[in-house]
Amino acid sequence: MHQNSFTIISSLNKTILLTLISFILLTTGCEQQKTTPVAGGVAQLSGKLNITGSSTIAPLAAELAAIFESKNPQLRINVQTGGSSRGLADIRQGVSDIGMVSRKLKTEENDIQAHLLANDGISIIVHKDNPITSLTEEQIKSIYLGKIKNWKSLNGVDKKITVINKAEGRSTLEVFLHFFKLKNVNIKPDVIIGDNEQGVKLVSRNRYAIAYVSIGTAEYNIKSGTTIKALPLDGVEATTEKLASGEFPLSRELNFVTKNKPSPLAQAFLDYSRSNEARKTIEEFGFVPIK
C-alpha cells in the first residue's frame, strides 16, 4: 500500500509540476510576442487605456475599442463596467483614463470634462397586447406615484398595473425622475430592475406591466418581434429617428468623461469614437451619434 500510494503522490506531483511549467511557458511565450515590434506604415499608437463606467455604454465602448485596437495592434484598451457612478469615482481616483457616464454631467461635477459620444432616448414600454396606445405625462406620473393602480382607470382592462422601476445609481432612473419631476422615495414600484434588457424581458412576459428603457433597446426588440410596444410621449413616437431629429423629449447624453485634459492616447480614442466610421457602430447599438 505504501509503495502504491507513494507513486500516486509523485505522479500527482508531476502533473501539477507539468501544468505549472506549461503555464509559465505559455505566459512568458505570449509576453515575448508582445515586445516584437509590428511593422506598419502609419505611426501606430501603443500603451494601455482603461475605460470604466456605465453598463449602457460598456458594450458599445468595448466594440469601439476592439476596432480601434485592430488598427493599432500595440494598443490595449480595457473596458470595465459597473455603472455611471463607478465611472466617475474611477476617474476621480485615477484608476481609469476615461469614464463612461450615461447622463448629462451635473453643474457641481465641474471637476470633470465631458466628451459627448451619442444620445439615447428613454421610452415607456408596455406589453404588445395592452390596448393602451398613449399616455400623457400626467398619467405616467400618477402610475409611478401609485395614484393610478389599475389599467381600467386609463380605459384599459380591469387589471392591476405592475410598475417597474430602475435601481438606484442607474442613470436611466435619474433621467426619468428629472424629466417627470419625481422623487425616487415617492415612487411605488412593484419590481426594481437593473439593466434595460431585464425591463424588456419582464414587460414582454407580463401583459399588465409598464417600464421605461433605452429607446435603442426597445426599438431593437420591437423589430426582432419581442412582445412589447413603445408608447409615444407628448404625441412624438419613441423611435431613434425622432430622437435624432431632436423631437423626442425624454433623452439623455452618453458621455465619455475625463478628469483633466485627456492624454494623447485617450484623445486619439475619443477622436476615433466621434469619427464617421464610429457612427455606424454607434447606430448598430441603437444610439444616436452626435452630428
Binding site: M1, H2, N4, S5, F6, T7, I8, I9, T19, L20, F23, T27, C30, E31, Q33, K34, N50, S55, T56, A58, P59, L60, A62, E63, A66, E69, R76, N78, V79, Q80, T81, G82, V95, G194, D195, N196, E197, Q198, V200, G216, T217, Y220, N221, S224, E284, F285, G286
Partner: protein
C-alpha cells in the same frame, strides 16, 4: 430495502410519495433547464463559435477569448486554493481537536466567508486585490477572489474526508514509527483523495458559475489575455452581459450558457474518472 419488513401505514406511504416527488422534481427541473438552453442555443453554435473572437459585442462571432480566460482563471484559482485548502484541512483534522479555541475560531471564520454574498466578495476583491495590492483588473485578481470564495467549501469537505478515516490507521502508523509527514502524505491523503476530488469538482462548479465576483476583479475585456496580469472576461460574465446589456444578445447568451454547461459536464467526468483510477490503485 426490499428485504426489510415494512409496516405499510399512511405516514410511510406519504414519505415515499414525497421523496419520490422531490427526486422527480429535481430531474424535471434540470431537464427543463437543459432543454430550454439547448433549444435556444444550439442553432447559434457551429465549430467556429469555439475558436473565433466575438464580433459586435458578442452578437456575432465566437467565444474563444472567454473560454481561454475562464480556463486560466479556473486553473489559477485551483493552484492557489488547493494547497491552502489541503494544508488547512490537515491542520484542522490532524493537529487540533474540534473543541480547541483556535480551530473553532477558524471554523467560525469559514462559515462566515461561505455565507458572504458573491457581490460583496467581488467588491472586496476589487478593493483589496485590484486597488490595494495594485494587481489591477486581471485574471490573477479574479482567481484570488474566487479562491477566497471556494476555500470554505474546499477546507470543510477535505477535513470531513480526513476525519472519516478510522482512527486505527493513525494509531497503527504511529505504532510502526511512521513520521507524521509520511502518515499524512502516504496514508491519509491518498485515502482521502476521493473526498478531495469531490471537493475540487464542487469548487470548479462554483468558480465557473461565478459572475458577480469576477465582474469587478477579472473584468469585462473581451480580448484574449496575453498574461495572467491581463483583464479577461469569463464565460459567466459574457452570458450576463449578453443577456442584460446587449440588445439581441440572447441567442449568443444561450449558446454560451450551453457551452458552459457542457464544459462543466466534461470537467466533472474527467475528475470522476481520475478519482476512479486513484481509488482502484489505492485499493490494491
Amino acid at each position: 430495502m426490499n428485504a426489510l419488513p415494512t409496516n405499510n401505514n399512511l405516514a410511510d406511504t406519504l414519505l415515499k410519495i414525497a421523496s419520490w416527488a422531490s427526486g422527480i422534481f429535481i430531474v424535471l427541473f434540470f431537464g427543463y433547464l437543459l432543454f430550454d438552453i439547448t433549444v435556444n442555443g444550439f442553432s447559434r453554435i457551429d465549430f467556429s463559435f469555439f475558436y473565433e473572437s466575438p464580433v459586435n459585442a458578442g452578437r456575432q462571432g465566437g467565444i474563444a477569448p472567454m473560454l481561454i480566460s475562464t480556463l486560466l482563471i479556473l486553473i489559477l484559482c485551483l493552484c492557489i486554493s488547493l494547497p491552502i485548502g489541503i494544508a488547512s484541512a490537515i491542520y484542522l483534522a490532524e493537529y487540533t481537536n474540534e473543541k480547541q479555541w483556535f480551530s473553532r475560531f477558524i471554523r467560525r471564520c469559514l462559515n462566515i466567508i461561505s455565507g458572504v454574498p458573491s457581490i460583496v466578495m467581488g467588491l472586496f476583491g476589487y478593493a483589496f486585490f485590484v486597488i490595494a495590492l495594485k494587481l489591477g483588473f486581471s485574471l490573477l485578481s479574479g482567481a484570488l477572489t474566487l479562491a477566497a470564495m471556494v476555500l470554505p467549501l474546499l477546507i470543510r469537505s477535505i477535513e470531513d474526508s480526513l476525519r472519516a478515516i478510522p482512527q486505527s490507521y493513525r494509531l497503527n502508523a504511529h505504532a510502526l514509527g511512521l513520521s507524521q509527514w509520511r502518515m499524512i502524505f502516504q496514508i491519509l491523503l491518498p485515502m482521502a483523495s476521493q473526498g478531495i476530488l469531490l471537493a475540487v469538482i464542487l469548487s470548479i462548479g462554483r468558480a465557473m458559475a461565478e459572475t458577480a465576483a469576477l465582474l469587478y476583479t477579472s473584468g469585462y475585456v473581451m480580448r484574449t489575455p496575453d498574461s495572467i496580469m491581463d483583464s479577461g472576461r469569463s464565460l459567466s460574465v459574457h452570458i450576463f452581459d449578453l443577456s442584460m446589456n446587449v440588445p439581441g444578445g440572447e441567442p449568443s447568451a444561450y449558446a454560451s450558457a450551453l457551452t458552459l454547461i457542457v464544459l462543466l459536464l466534461i470537467i466533472n467526468t474527467i475528475t470522476a474518472y481520475i478519482s476512479r483510477i486513484i481509488k482502484n490503485r489505492s485499493i490494491k
